[in-house]
C-alpha cells in the first residue's frame, strides 16, 4: 500500500527532453502525483489523469510522463499497478494479467490452439462466403475473359472437330445446362485444340467452358461421357470454386503473416508451405463436390448418372493413370474418384426407391 507520506515508488526523473536524470520519489501530495527530489521538493507534479503511464510489459521499466514533458521512470512495476488500481484504472493491466506466467496460461494456450483451429475451420470459410457474396459478378467475368484470352493466345488452338460432332455435344450440353441453376444462357461452350494441355476440360468462373479436341477424341462416340464431364465443370461454376479458392488462399496467407512476427521467419515459412498443402486438400474436395454435382445433374436430366465414371475408366486404360491420392495432388486419385462416383450413384438410386 501507499505509505503514510504518500510515497508511491522510487526511480529516476528526467527533465523535459533530456537524458539527465536525478534520483527521485513518486509521491501523492495534495491530490496530485508528484516526482520529488531527495529534499522533498517537487520536480514535477500533475493530476493523476494528466499523467501518461506506459502499459506494463514483463518487468521492463515503467514510464510516467508529466504534462510538462518530464519523465519519471521506475522499475517498481507493482507499485505503479497498485496506484492504477486505487485510481480505478486497474483494468489497464488486463493484458499483463493474462500474460503472467501462472497456471492460467495453460488455459490461454488451450484457447489459442482451439481458437486458431476454429478460425481456420469456421471464420476463414465464413469470411470467404461473405467475400464471394459481395464480389460483383463483373469481377469473375473480367477474370474469365482475360484468362480465356490468355489461354487462346498462349496454349489453345482453334478446334478441328467436325461441325456435326460439335453439334451433338452442344445438344447434350444444352439439355443439362438448362437444368442447372444458371440456366442454359449462363454458359458458353467452346471447343479448342488443347495442344500441350491434352485431353482436358475447364470451367472459368463466368460460365465459359472449354473442351479440348483431345478429350473428345479420347471419348470416341461416347457423347454421354463428354456431357458427364461438362456437368462436372458446371459444378465448378455453380459452386464458385475458383473465387472461393482465391479468397481462401488470401485469407490463410494473411493470417499467417499477421502472426509471422511472433513465430519467427523459419516457422512462418514452414506454415506457409503447410497452408499450400492444405489448399491442395481443399482443391481435392472441390473436385469431389463437382463429381457429385455431375451425377446429380445427369440424373435430373434423365441421363446416365455414372457417365463421368466411364471417363475415369478411360483415363486409366488409355493414359495408364493409376495414381493414388497423395497429399501433393490437386485432384483425387483416378481409381478412387471412379469408385466414389459409382457409390454416390448407388446411394442416390437407393434413395429414389
Amino acid at each position: 500500500m501507499v505509505s503514510d507520506q504518500g510515497r508511491i515508488a522510487s526511480g529516476e526523473w528526467h527533465p523535459p527532453g533530456t537524458s539527465r536524470s536525478v534520483p527521485s520519489q513518486l509521491v501523492e501530495t495534495g491530490g496530485q502525483i508528484a516526482a520529488q527530489d531527495e529534499l522533498h521538493a517537487n520536480l514535477a507534479a500533475a493530476d493523476f489523469a494528466q499523467i501518461e503511464i506506459s502499459a506494463r510489459v514483463g518487468s521492463i521499466p515503467r514510464r510516467l510522463e508529466f504534462p510538462d514533458g518530464s519523465l519519471f521512470e521506475t522499475s517498481d512495476n507493482d507499485a505503479i499497478d497498485r496506484l492504477l488500481k486505487v485510481r480505478g484504472k486497474g483494468s489497464q493491466g488486463f493484458i499483463h494479467q493474462l500474460e503472467r506466467f501462472r497456471p492460467h496460461l495453460v488455459l490461454v494456450v488451450a484457447a489459442t490452439i482451439l481458437l486458431g483451429w476454429a478460425v481456420y475451420r469456421y471464420a476463414v470459410p465464413a469470411l470467404v462466403e461473405v467475400a464471394v457474396l459481395v464480389t460483383p459478378p463483373v469481377v469473375p467475368e473480367i477474370m474469365s475473359q482475360s484468362a480465356f484470352k490468355a489461354l487462346d493466345s498462349g496454349v489453345l488452338d482453334p478446334s478441328q472437330l467436325t461441325a456435326e460432332r460439335q453439334r451433338r455435344i452442344r445438344e447434350g450440353f444444352g439439355a443439362i445446362a438448362a437444368l442447372s441453376s444458371r440456366g442454359e444462357a449462363g454458359y458458353t461452350l467452346n471447343f479448342r485444340k488443347g495442344g500441350m494441355v491434352g485431353p482436358n476440360a475447364f470451367a472459368l468462373p463466368d460460365g465459359t467452358l472449354i473442351v479440348t479436341d483431345e478429350l473428345v477424341d479420347l471419348a470416341g462416340d461416347d457423347t454421354e461421357m463428354i456431357v458427364g464431364v461438362l456437368a462436372h465443370e458446371i459444378g465448378h461454376v455453380e459452386l464458385e470454386h475458383s473465387l472461393r479458392q482465391v479468397y481462401r488462399a488470401a485469407g490463410v496467407a494473411g493470417l499467417i503473416m499477421m502472426i509471422g512476427g511472433d513465430i519467427g521467419s523459419g516457422a512462418e515459412d514452414i506454415l506457409v508451405q503447410g497452408a499450400g498443402l492444405l489448399s491442395l486438400s481443399y482443391s481435392r474436395s472441390a473436385e469431389t463436390a463437382a463429381d457429385r454435382h455431375s451425377v446429380e445433374l445427369m440424373q435430373k436430366a434423365g441421363r446416365e448418372p455414372a457417365a463421368i465414371a466411364r471417363f475415369f475408366d478411360l483415363l486409366e486404360e488409355k493414359l495408364d493413370d493409376h495414381g493414388d491420392t497423395s497429399i501433393l495432388s490437386t485432384h483425387p486419385g483416378t481409381p478412387e474418384r471412379r469408385k466414389a462416383i459409382r457409390d454416390y450413384v448407388a446411394e442416390l438410386r437407393a434413395k429414389a426407391m
Binding site: 533530456t18 537524458s19 494456450v109 490468355a150 502472426i259 511472433d262
Partner: protein
C-alpha cells in the same frame, strides 16, 4: 534503475524478406538482409591488441527470460487470432517493448515508443495497396508484373520511411535515435544490391551487404551525433565462402543419411509395384527439397552472422566509440537451426524460449569500446537532449512484418 530502448532498428530489416517473398524474391532479399544484421570478423580484432580487455569495454546484455516472454507471446498470438489479425499491431508493440526494454547497455535499457495505432495504419495502407495492385494484375493479365514494378519503385521510399519510424520510436537514456538516409541511397542499398545479388547468383552478395550496412549504419543518428560504418569486403567474402562450403557439407551429410535410410527400407527395388514407386518418387522429391533448404539455410545463417560481425565491428559512434560484434558463425547457425527444430517439435510453444535464446546470444556477443570514460560519454549524451523526440510520425511507412 534502467531507462530504455534499442538501436536495433535493423532488426526489422530481416522481416523485409517476407514482404518481398510475396513477389517471389524471398531468397535474394534474405541474402541481402543478412547484411543488415551484422558486423565484423572477430579474427580481425584478435590481431589488434584487444586481447587485454580495456576498462572501457562494455558488453550489451539481454535480461529477458523465456518464461516471462512466453506469457506475452501466447497472449499476442491468441489475441491476433481472435481479432483476425488486427491485434497484431499491438502485439508487435508489446513484443518490441519487451525485447528493447530488456536490451541493456551501461546499466540502461533501450525503449520502444511506437503505439499500435501507428503500426496498424501503416499495415492497412501497405495491405490496401497490395490488394489493389494484385486485383488489377489478376483482372488484367497484361499488367501481371504491375505489383512487382510498383514494389520496386515504392520500396526504397517505404524502406526509408520504415527506418526513420523505427529509429525515431527508439530511445536510449531518454534520447531518441533518428535516421537521415534518403530514397536514392535506399534504392542502391536494397533494390540495386538485390538485383546484383540475383544476377551474379549470389557472388556479389557481400557488395550488397556492404551497401546496406553502410546505408543503414551511416545514416543513423543518436542525439544529433552520427554513427558511421564502412564494412570491409574481405570478411564478408570469407563469410560467404565458408558459409557456402559449410552448407554443402551439411547437405552432403543429410543426403547421405536420407539415401542410407532409403536403401535400408526399400531393399527389393525390382519388385515394387506402381503405387510404391510413385510414392518413392514423391519421397525423393520431398527429401531433395529438404536437403536443398538445409544447404541454403545453413549457408545463409552462416553468412548472416559474418555480415553482422563485419558491419557492427566497422561501426563508430561520434567518430570515436567503436562497436564490436563477435558472434561465432557456427554457433549462431546452430542456435538458429536448433531454435527452429525445437519450435517445430513443440508446435511453436518453445518459440519464446528460442527468441530469447537468440537475442541473448547476439547481444551478449556485442559490445562497445568507449573512447575516454563512460562518465564523459554519458554526460555528453545528457547534453544532447532528445533531438527528434518531438517529431511525431503518423504511421510506420513499411512494416516489414508484411
Amino acid at each position: 534503475m534502467r531507462a530504455g530502448r534499442a538501436q536495433r532498428v535493423y532488426i526489422d530489416f530481416i522481416l523485409l524478406k517476407r514482404g518481398c517473398g510475396l513477389w517471389g524474391w524471398q531468397s535474394q532479399i534474405e541474402c541481402l538482409m543478412g547484411g543488415i544484421m551484422v558486423v565484423a570478423e572477430t579474427a580481425s580484432f584478435q590481431a589488434a591488441p584487444a586481447r587485454d580487455v580495456p576498462s572501457d569495454f562494455h558488453r550489451f546484455a539481454f535480461m529477458g527470460s523465456g518464461k516471462e516472454y512466453f506469457g506475452i507471446w501466447i497472449v499476442n498470438v491468441l489475441l491476433t487470432i481472435v481479432t483476425l489479425g488486427i491485434y497484431s499491431a499491438w502485439a508487435k508493440v508489446r513484443r518490441n517493448r519487451y525485447f528493447y526494454g530488456n536490451t541493456v547497455l551501461l546499466g540502461r535499457a533501450f525503449e520502444y515508443h511506437a503505439n499500435g495505432k501507428q503500426i496498424l495504419i501503416g499495415r492497412l495502407i501497405v495491405l490496401g495497396g497490395l490488394v489493389v495492385l494484385n486485383v488489377i494484375a489478376t483482372l488484367v493479365p497484361i499488367l501481371a508484373l504491375l505489383p512487382t514494378l510498383a514494389v520496386i519503385i515504392a520500396l526504397p521510399w517505404l524502406v526509408v520511411r520504415g527506418l526513420r519510424f523505427n529509429a525515431r520510436v527508439t530511445s536510449y537514456r531518454n534520447v531518441r535515435f533518428d535516421f537521415v538516409g534518403g530514397v536514392g541511397g535506399a534504392f542502391k542499398a536494397f533494390i540495386l544490391g538485390g538485383l546484383l545479388t540475383i544476377i551474379s547468383l549470389g557472388l556479389l552478395a557481400p557488395l550488397a551487404s556492404r551497401w546496406t550496412g553502410r546505408y543503414v549504419g551511416s545514416n543513423l543518428r543518436f542525439g544529433g551525433k552520427a554513427f558511421h560504418t564502412d564494412p570491409p569486403l574481405a570478411p564478408l567474402y570469407r563469410g560467404l565462402l565458408i558459409g557456402a562450403l559449410f552448407g554443402i557439407v551439411v547437405g552432403i551429410v543429410a543426403a547421405a543419411i536420407i539415401m542410407g535410410t532409403f536403401r535400408a527400407t526399400a531393399p527389393a527395388e525390382n519388385g515394387l509395384d506402381d503405387t510404391v514407386q510413385v510414392s518413392l518418387v514423391w519421397l525423393l522429391a520431398g527429401s531433395s527439397y529438404v536437403v536443398l533448404l538445409l544447404v541454403y539455410g545453413t549457408a545463409m545463417l552462416f553468412y548472416r552472422a559474418a555480415v553482422r560481425n563485419a558491419v557492427w565491428s566497422a561501426t563508430r559512434f561520434d567518430e570515436k566509440h567503436r562497436f564490436l560484434s563477435g558472434l561465432s558463425r557456427g554457433r549462431y547457425t546452430w542456435i538458429a537451426i536448433s531454435n527452429l527444430l525445437v519450435t517445430i517439435v513443440t508446435l511453436g510453444l518453445m518459440r519464446p524460449w528460442a527468441a530469447v535464446r537468440m537475442a541473448r546470444y547476439t547481444w551478449e556477443h556485442t559490445s562497445v569500446l568507449v573512447a575516454g570514460s563512460v562518465g564523459t560519454l554519458v554526460s555528453e549524451i545528457e547534453q544532447q537532449g532528445s533531438a527528434v523526440g518531438a517529431e511525431f510520425i503518423e504511421f510506420e511507412g513499411f512494416d516489414f512484418g508484411f
